[in-house]
Symmetry: C2
Subunit: 125 residues, 2 copies
């Protein structure tokens, strides 16, 4: 089975989704991410979907699920690189990606994660 | 045709190779990378191959070509995440990846790029 690699960058994890996912691949990604967040203590997950030309309800649910898992494990998930046409289609379909943070590109996503981590640090003090 | 996305992270570009590449995909990646290096002024390229279980002479040549193109455009290329079994096979096959810098993972690759950029800055002064 095809597994999507998870890269560690500082205190964040980065996933680049490049191909249309089957159910098994999506499930494996969720499992792998949960495991990696716990193992590395990552406080952020960046998911790049710039290669996806279609985001249907299946992918939308998967992004929401990953986001939810991350939240429970104390990691902020940011979806980056969405193509403009994909955003238009999502709104037209009524898929609002509730609870999923987005950013225009990886750099802005990283900035968002750093800001979230700083807020978290404040709470601990 | 399938195109591998190129992510921009600060002054570097990141490419995650997740699938076995056909000739066309590899050629497109070289073109896209050259264009992005010129467009963004990136001084480093990280190529993650942690998902590859086989690196044959075709992929080896592609990595060397990208590295060469990067060098001419003043960007350091670092191949990261190579699986131990792949390294063993490469040596057994006599493919030494001449001129290609490698690092264990993305974090170390980034550190290598930053060190290279610092050296470059010194030269300019």
């Amino acid at each position: 089975m095809y597994r999507i690699p998870i890269l560690r960058m500082g205190r964040s994890l980065l996933v680049t989704i490049q191909v249309d996912m089957e159910d098994q691949t999506a499930m494996a990604l969720q499992d792998d991410l949960a495991e990696q967040i716990a193992k590395t203590g990552a406080n952020g997950v960046l998911i790049d979907i710039s290669a996806l030309e279609i985001v249907d309800s299946f992918v939308g649910r998967m992004l929401a699920a990953i986001s939810g898992i991350g939240r429970i494990l104390d990691a902020t998930t940011v979806v980056v690189g969405m193509q403009p046409a994909v955003a238009i289609t999502l709104v037209e379909l009524g898929l609002s990606l509730d609870g999923v943070k987005t950013a225009l590109n990886v750099s802005r996503g990283m900035a968002l994660l750093e800001a979230a981590a700083a807020d978290g640090d404040d709470l601990v003090e």
